[in-house]
């Protein structure tokens, strides 16, 4: 009985020791280090996962069996962090208890306690984020309004985005109108600035706002809107050369990668005409070298259903390219913009934890840098 009791005491001492906290930290670090090498389900591209499984079939099986292929969604991984937090809670409260009871006045105790408490705060914030975070995309073309209702969403827009649309709370009366989108390039064509001017309607309040990369917009309802991506919607007009009749005329929202100056291909509706397009703006001669004006233009290749080439060349704004049977004109161009909308109730708690961590770690460790060296007579 005595041995059993001693065993229990020893176990309790181990479970509440700093050694366990250190072991758990080492386990968490090792798990993350291993998971960094293994392509993670739902995060890495499917091709990478297939390649990994093909190259290391045995390792892939083991990784799958113990959850290393989806570590950041596995229960045991979060359980380790929960145990670390439990250990911190116990060790910290014990330190506070002895400090108050025995008046030890240990140097650096309070900043150390605050630093450890900051993990608990960040962990709680992270947990709230994990449980309640809502995010999605909204795609709006210049001049259009997105109100987030099911009826107003063009599902085709989201087919190539692999992202769910974001629905605003219907009672909030929230709507975003994209007035215009601007891209500033330098003389070498490198994008140096991009921003979207929007009108935000929230119930009865209407306001103008600008959303930039790195400068998200915060709505009254708590959502944050960040500028994620953009693309082109050229207005193309195709006419039949023989009959001189209009084949089609409209704005065509080009899917990526046209937004990253890559080539994209699309088919004109109700025709067998396929257009391959790559955005290639033409530099207009201006004096300033810092900001140059670019005229929208597309490098295009028009083919029919049989793959026969009809038109090939650079189509500038307002110009027409004539082929053997059809002609194509670039009449106008609009941008479409993809915004990411996030509602995260844990973020403020996480930030509070960050602030506490930053202050307390500096308070705890910085004085140690200015002590006298152990032996400065060298």
């Amino acid at each position: 009985m005595n041995r059993f009791k001693h065993g229990l005491i020893y176990l309790w001492q181990f479970l509440t020791s700093r050694l366990l906290a250190i072991i758990l930290m080492a386990v968490a670090a090792t798990a993350m280090a291993i998971a960094n090498i293994i392509p993670q389900q739902g995060r890495a591209p499917q091709a990478d996962i297939a390649q990994w499984e093909k190259a290391f079939p045995a390792a892939a099986k083991v990784a799958k069996a113990i959850g290393f292929d989806h570590l950041y969604n596995s229960v045991w991984f979060y359980a380790i962090f929960a145990l670390i937090i439990a250990s911190i809670c116990y060790c910290t409260s014990r330190r506070i208890y002895y400090e108050i009871k025995e008046h030890r006045h240990q140097r650096g105790l309070w900043p150390s306690i605050f630093f450890h408490v900051s993990f608990i705060v960040v962990f709680i914030g992270g947990l709230i984020s994990f449980q309640t975070r809502m995010s999605g995309a909204i795609i709006v073309t210049e001049g259009e309004t997105y109100s987030g209702s099911l009826l107003t969403i063009n599902s085709r827009d989201f087919l190539y985005q692999h992202e769910q649309p974001y629905f605003f709370d219907p009672d909030s009366g929230t709507a975003i109108t994209l007035e215009d989108f601007h891209i500033n390039r330098n003389s070498e064509g490198v994008i140096i600035d991009s921003y979207a001017n929007v009108i935000v309607t929230e119930g009865e309040e209407i306001r103008d706002a600008t959303i930039k990369v790195n400068k998200p917009l915060l709505l009254l309802s708590g959502e944050t809107i960040t500028l994620q991506n953009y693309g082109f919607a050229p207005r193309l007009s195709v006419t039949d050369n023989k009959t001189n009749t209009l084949v089609c005329d409209g704005f065509y929202k080009l899917p990526p990668p046209a937004n990253t100056d890559g080539t994209t291909s699309f088919r004109l509706p109700y025709t067998d005409i396929t257009i391959k397009a790559r955005y290639e703006p033409v530099l207009e001669k201006v004096r300033s070298k810092i900001k140059s004006k670019f005229i929208p233009a597309f490098q295009i290749l028009v083919t029919d259903g049989y793959g026969k080439e009809h038109i090939k060349g650079l189509l500038k704004m307002g110009e027409t390219l004539k082929g053997d049977t059809i002609s194509i004109t670039l009449k106008d161009m609009k941008y479409w913009v993809k915004f990411t909308v996030v509602k995260d109730q844990g973020i403020r708690i996480v930030y509070a934890g960050f602030l506490l961590a930053a202050v307390s770690i500096t308070w705890r460790l910085l004085p140690l840098l200015f002590r006298r060296l152990k032996d400065d007579t060298a």
Binding site: R18, A33, N36, S194, V213, T226, T340
Partner: protein, 278 residues
Amino acid sequence: MTQLETIFFWTTVIILAGASSIFAAGLAFRKDVAIKGAFWIVACAAATLTIAIASRWIATGHFPLMDEYENSLTAAWLIMAIYIGLRYKIRGLRSLGIVAAPISLIILGLGVMSGPRLSPLTPPYKSIWLYAHMTFSQLTVVSMLIAFGLAVLYLVKARDKQANGQSMRLERLPTAEVLDDLSFRFIIFGYITATLMIITGAIWANHLWGNYWNWDPIETWSLVTWLIYGIYLHTRFSYGWSGRRASWFAIIATISVIINFWGIAYVTNTFHILSKLR
């Protein structure tokens, strides 16, 4: 690279290579004059690198902190500046150039191999949080590398002392106790900056992507590194580790820093290839 930058960059590399050799020779043959001279050569390297950094800053219109090459410039400069500063603050540290000069040289070499190119700031870079993040990451890597060098020197010095009772060849170096203490201090400083690096990076990510933590490989590896150095501090504070054991720990932990800053980007897909951001 601009022409001026190229000239001064390669001048720095040559000077640092010379300084490293002179430091090694000075310590090996116990020549004080050589060590003193090498110190001033490192100071010259710092000056020429300053000109290279300034010319790049003028050419690109932003402080060079945004790609691997630019980071190597600032990291090497920081190491030299810290070394020169320490030399004036604490006596007997001139010979630590044997750590500072070769590490700076290696960092510059790694940087120039990454293919430097002049580019202006694209929109994702235009954030005060990113500047803070990059600055803290530079301070972290520099501190941890210096701590690594000091830990190696500690082991060499301690071993030498153990072997014949007095360290003849390495007597120009500070005592083993000072080396151990300095290594610990650099890790303390690096830990503070690593914490701030993770925090500012998370805030920047939230502004850019609307998510403060994405489990991105480099992001995750920075947490791994932070945990490893957290364990180091616990062993020192709670279990009284110092000297040999602490030095070995510091040396092994540096592997994680090297993977974090130079390795992981080549192995997996990461958001942290900043040149890919648009």
